[in-house]
Amino acid sequence: MRKIHQVLPDLVYGDAISNYAIEMKGYLRGHGYASDIFASRCYDARVTHEARIFKPDLIEENDAILYHHSIGSEITPFVIEHTGPKCLIYHNITPARFFEPYRPDFAKKLAEGRSNLGEMAARFAVCAGDSAYNASELKEWGFVNPFVLPIPVSPNKWSGSPDSGLMNRLGDGKTNILFVGRIVPSKCLHDLVAAFSEYLSMDLDARLIIVGEYLPDDPYYSHLVHTIQRHGLTDQVTLAGKVSDGELEACYRSADLFWSMSEHEGFCVPVIEAMWFDVPVLAYRSSAIPETLGESGIMFTEKGDLASVAALARLLVRDEELRQVVLRAQTKRRSDFLPAAVWPRLDDLIQRMEEEFASR
């Protein structure tokens, strides 16, 4: 097997799955495979050179395919029918219930994408989740013996030249609380704003920076903006939108705490990134978060008592002893996701694909 291609619906700049695919392509090419990324859509000039626009005749019958599955797309039927070696890599699909109150049509698509998994189980003899949480979900849908192939997070990704203007602005002595992730209902950013409102009663000189893409017409975005206004926090909360790598690096470097109230994460790359910038992580215990944090980070299990959650956040910011204990644990944990630790598992996965194909 000398050709291993990756197929995914969208290749997007800054997106965790897209970055994963690009890294994987580099690894595969470095190990002698002919490897390309095929995507249905790839608009951003910063990543267009990384992928080819998908056409069925570009992939030969015996080429191996690593298919990154999220919600169903026009390429899904092609991959299902592909007779060569193939593996489905599952990054999880957000449960539809989160989107139902805001974007019912999209919620329907998510529900369909999830229910398609049952049908796909019989067509993919080899599969993987990027976390044990995702792998266990594959198992529930009838996939056999799913593999766990985590997302590698390397500090080399960062150029070491954070946006200097932003660094100056964020380095004004205020406490910087950071969350990185798309503005979607499952991330529960409205809860984060409410909790931050409590936090401000203990630390008036604080700001909350939410970095992540949003659609200006998205009802959830409007809801979040309204929530910020209702709490009177328009001066303390920044919705930074999608930022450049330099700006993101500035945010991480200036952050005093990474705080997540998210109720659904298939892996959560920003948590590992925060660890590389020595930012303590405080997160709501949900989905894959406990697995990604492993023996590091502090989680809370209830959202009912926001005053206590805010007090915990405050301790992580100002209690130097606690902070150092957490950072030591995070330093250890982050190395588990270095490419050197993750890619050998990809070798095992490729071997399994070869064996499965040979046994047909």
Partner: protein, 257 residues
């Protein structure tokens, strides 16, 4: 509430620190006012009040009590009930609202059947304050005397029995009136409920139609946004390149302002 797998952290101790932090904050009293989530927080919320509530109030609102300088007939009071009756009796006879003690006392009397409406009117009218006001209530004296007569032991019982027998045709007639008026009222209430239901159905139809319209326009705008994305990214890249070339190095972003 706290969970961690960091071996060096004692969760109980950390929890105690959290409690202390919360206590400290409460002591400082720096808690900002919390805002209660409101229906208007809902996405796409638009105030909607096309239902004509005046129609509904028209059905349920009792006839307003009119204060009269020339005096009253006892029936001007008797058509009201319960609390409204006591309030109107005070307003008409004593030309003031009831004090809470008086209101509670007379209401309790009505609820336990120890007092009739005529009793209450008579007690107010012939109290020192009522006599001072000297408001005329036609038909009250006879009613009040009769009611007072009923309270005399033994004699009162026979008087009541006799008057009740004499009043029997009027009582039967009243029962008929109550029966037919109740039926009419039920009918009217039914009609009002049907109208109300219709009004809500129409309102819901309008909400659904406007929501569909809004969703369609949102989808269209999303499509437009998708198409525009490529060109916008290109413009942004060009701008970044120009800034890098000029050595400025700092791209001011309005969103961080």
């Amino acid at each position: 509430m706290i969970e961690t797998q960091i071996p060096d952290i004692n969760v109980d101790e950390l929890m105690e620190k959290v409690r202390a932090e919360v206590r400290e904050r409460k002591k400082r009293g720096a808690v900002p006012p919390r805002t209660v989530p409101h229906a208007s927080d809902a996405p796409g919320f638009r105030p909607y009040s096309k239902v004509d509530f005046s129609k509904i109030y028209g059905v349920w609102e009792p006839e307003l009590f009119q204060e009269k300088d020339e005096g009253y007939h006892i029936n001007d009071f008797l058509k009201y009930h319960d609390q409204q009756f006591v309030i109107n009796a005070y307003r008409g006879i004593l030309t003031r609202g009831p004090d809470s003690e008086g209101l509670n006392y007379f209401l309790k009397g009505l609820h336990t059947a120890k007092l009739t409406k005529a009793d209450i009117l008579g007690r107010l009218r012939y109290s020192p304050e009522g006599r001072a006001r000297n408001v005329k209530v036609r038909g009250l004296l006879l009613h009040f005397c009769v009611q007072s007569l009923f309270k005399i032991p033994i004699l009162g019982y026979f008087c009541r029995l006799m008057i009740s027998i004499l009043n029997l045709p009027t009582l039967v007639s009243n029962v008929q009136i109550i029966d037919s008026s109740s039926a009419a009222q039920f009918q009217q209430q039914g009609q009002t409920l049907r109208e109300l239901s219709k009004m809500f159905e129409n309102a819901m139809d309008e909400v659904i139609a406007s929501e569909r319209e809004w969703r369609a326009s949102l989808e269209q705008r999303l499509k437009d946004l998708e198409y525009r994305n490529l060109s916008r990214e290109t413009v942004r890249d060009d701008a970044s390149a120009r800034i890098r070339e000029s050595g400025a190095g700092e791209l001011e972003r309005h969103k961080f302002a």
